[in-house]
Symmetry: C2
Subunit: 108 residues, 2 copies
């Protein structure tokens, strides 16, 4: 995962509405959720939702697929794990470390 995409992904998540959208889709799992249903659950206007979904899509955190006249969005779990790996990479320079709960860190 390249640094620019990581910055973009973090920026996408760094907003109240988009964070809520993403978490909703994480809970929804691979089945995902239609744009309209997301808008309804979070009380967002269509244009605002679309703006935020575009941002999340561009960051590759969510993926849309067409289903009839709905567009279903689902969370991209690979992007999530890639992001976490990037943040914790080479934690404590490889020494057994204080952050043992983190994936990719050597346990103490």
């Amino acid at each position: 995962m390249d640094s620019n995409l990581v910055v973009r992904a973090l920026g996408a998540l760094a907003h109240e509405s988009r964070l809520a959208i993403f978490r909703l889709l994480v809970v929804a799992g691979p089945d995902g959720m239609a744009a309209g249903e997301i808008a309804q659950q979070l009380g967002l206007s269509p244009s605002s939702l679309s703006f935020h979904l575009k941002d999340l899509s561009h960051a590759e955190l969510v993926t849309p697929r067409q289903d009839g006249r709905f567009i279903i969005y689902s969370a991209n779990f690979d992007a999530m794990t890639g992001l976490i790996a990037f943040l914790t990479e080479n934690c404590c320079a490889g020494a057994p470390c204080a952050a043992s709960e983190l994936p990719g860190c050597r346990k103490k």
Copy 2:
């Protein structure tokens, strides 16, 4: 971890320089690194570095301590794990899921 702090933390990381600073401190581990050394390694001006460190501190991602005339910053690993937990909370509504590498998700 409350949602506002998560948004702040993600926003703090969503910037090339701050992401680089944080990753440097993750590698440095609990010993941390003096502000000046960070500036040198990343080629940042003092005021710009200070601005970004303040932002990271405010998001509780890094913690400063005074050491002589230096100020040593270190990564806050608890905040990092809290952030990851927040993002992946109730992944796939609790069902064994596609994102099995994520902490907090039930394995498939």
